[in-house]
Amino acid sequence: MLPESIKHGDTVLEARGITKRFPGVLANDQIDFEIKAGEIHAILGENGAGKTTLMNILFGLHQPDEGELYLYGKKVNFKSPLDAIGLGIGMVHQNRKLIPAHTVIENIILGHPRAGAILNLKRAGREITELCDKYGFKIDLKAKVWQLSEGEKQVVEILKALYRGAKILILDEPTSALAPPEIKRLLDSIRIMTVDELAIVPFITHKLPIVFEISERVTVLRRGRVSARLATTETTQKGLAREMVGRDVIFRMEQMTVEKGKSILHAENLVAFNDKGVLALKDVSFSVQEGEIFGIAGVSGNGQQVLAEVLAGLRKPQGGKVILDGADITHSSTLDFWMKGIGYIPSERIDVGSIGEFSLAENFTMNYYFDDRFSRGGIVDYKEIRRLTEQMISEYDVAAPGPDTTAKSLSGGNLQKLILARVLSRKPRLLIANLPTQGLDIGATEFVQKKIMEAKKEKAGILLISEDLDEVLSLSDRVAPMYEGEFMGIIPGGEARRELVGAMMAGLKPKVEQL
């Protein structure tokens, strides 16, 4: 089926009039697009724009209700991903589909037609090493997958697809979990692939700058339809966002200076272990003032989660002190942390931040069952909480029929708005926002950032933990890049150079004059 030779610019895959319906939903509506050999063609769209459906159709997980797919000019009909893989389509999932306990090489050859009953690991190893050398991937083939970073796991998925002979590579949110240096390496490798006439199709939700760095052409989806087809040289971030959202979007929050008040939080020499018993927080000290956003930049897994949990009273530190408004609360209960004015927005919004089977009002009760204004003599005033929930739903523009809907019926962005509304409605002294915009689309991200800025204006102290460098830099008054459980320094936010912070996130401790 694969043609003998592919020339640069040949159309390799073409979709015509792809339409896919789900009960009550039109997910893809007459989508046309084509991918050429040696081209990087990004597909852009917000959550719910139909990206996932389209991706699943290209990979054979779904069959379109209408429309056709043409591969090298011949009509194809994928019944399952196996058909797609067999015809040279490779998929790199955002949620990695690897076996953690197996080695890199075992994962790569898993399911390969040539890996029959008897494994020839030596030959496979040789071939995979050749691929690595060709595209500039550096990875230890004998390492177990659980030992790898997110970036390395992605490399394994890419290698797996290439080893199966993929000529068209679909990348689902390729940069969302990577550190800046890893992103650069990935982009370099992808560019070499295009020289080899591979076609690369990254699907992107929120990281717009990457679209410009990576791709030549971009197809924007909105509400299941193609809203624009552009060359990246012809457009701007603002232009792309307008096509995605359907209105103008603010990118960089206007920095505003709020007169800093007294210091709210002091963290002194905090030391703590993570769940695996590994020292994840090594002697971290800092303070947060009223009306200040203190940003922590870093790739997940460098101790931010443990730090957030210690400061939210969910994890007891092995050493050090948490001081809130002058009082040592290190050994207080989680409930005390809430009652003394700490508000925590957890990164795990489904498993920790909300209870799916509870109604929205019952979810609000999570932060009010102990509050004298809503609970007297051990009796909860559900009527009053329901009223508050109703009010906050409209104030925070949560798309929900009412306070009695279950939380699990909300989309990710709306759930985050609900959690934000709940925590901010307590008017916390210190707000800890852990990855508050992760996975949200542009519209919801903008909303969340706006609300965080409003809290700052009202003189709350804010600890912002984010993997998104642009977010940390644009929102924070001061930034602490975190690496392996330590701050690599604390630098003023406005002046922080992207490259410097990126390097610090990767473990560089700058000399004073560099700051």
């Binding site: 319906r21 789900f22 009960p23 009550g24 939903v25 039109l26 997910a27 959550n47 719910g48 724009a49 139909g50 990206k51 996932t52 459906t53 509400r223 299941g224 939210a312 009273g313 969910l314 209960s333 989680t334 409930l335 005390d336 942390f337 809430w338 009652m339 925590y344 957890p346 795990e348 498993d351 920790v352 931040g353 909300s354 209870i355 799916g356 089977e357 509870f358 019952e362 009760t365 999570m366 932060n367 069952y369 102990f370 609970s375 051990g378 009796i379 909860v380 559900y382 279950t406 019926s409």
Partner: protein, 378 residues
Amino acid sequence: MKLGSFEVKLEKRVALRGWEATLISIFAILFALVVFSYIFLRAGVDPLTGYKAIFSYAFTSSFGLPLTINRFIFLLLCTYAFIIPMRAGLWNIGMAGQLYAGALSAFAVAYAFGAKTSQNAVLPAGLVIPLMIAAAILGSAAIGAIAGFLKGRFNTNEIVVTMMINFITYWVVARMIKEGGLFMGASGEGDGFKLPESIYAPLIEGVPFTLFIALGLALLLFFLFAKTSIGYQIKAYGKSPAAAKYAGISPFNIPLLVFILGGLIAGLAGYHYFAAVPGVYKITKNYGEFGDLAFYGIICGLISQGNSLAAIPIALLFGGLTNGGRFAQGKLKLGFGIDYALLGVLMITLVAFQFFYRYRIVWVRTPGKEASDVGIHG
């Protein structure tokens, strides 16, 4: 499935209303009775005669009804002992052990007041009865607390712990009432000693006063879960321990609390059956059968979905059927185990019908293609 221009489909329910759940349960019971008719027919009995024998004995006969009521009280208490931990997502399989502990504690008080010496001993009922109840509550709560403590402190599986404690307490009772045990009865037939008449639990219209404790608990528990802060914390922990911890709900206190409360109520069931039911007033040698009966509390709890008010009719039904089924089996000369078979069929159907708590059957007109353009999916 297609029928003409209509299609029959299963649809996920968004919410289940109380009356819908009631209707589904009633259908389930009727369905079970219809299915079980086959067994009556095989045994050569007209199903109507069979059911009439069961239900008339259980609910209308002057012999059967009091027995039904006593079983109902016992079952309802066991159901509540199960429901409270269930709302916290925990499984109390230890009602048997907890009720044994309750009964032993109550009889220890009676023993301390010299109840064993003579059937005619005149004891201060106003003092001894409240003390017996208090002891039953404390003893069973303490046994329940073990599972709660281990769960909260070490995350030990509560099912295993409560189950093991059942075995231990079973043999502790045997040690106490048999072969020279401290609470051995005078008859020497393996029963425990009989309470003196002066401390028989009071009867109201021939019914032990424990009925009102059980019904009072029904209201109390309903209130606990619908209105109180503690009830909310238990429910939140039950739905998601991680989210509950985040909200400041103690992952140690909640398991401990629900097992103390559950154990305490099981202790009342122990007091009820061995010290308040007319004609018993002793720890009987077949006490193990009551331990087994306590497991019906699990079934009643599951069927009522943790709703203490819904548990009332269900416990009444099971109380009546265990009682009437055994009677009908004798009267109609049916084979051994027919009563258990009926209960089994009923339980399976009730649990199977809970499918309809989550799904409903809908008839839809087969849609034209243009009808589906609403909203967007990702």
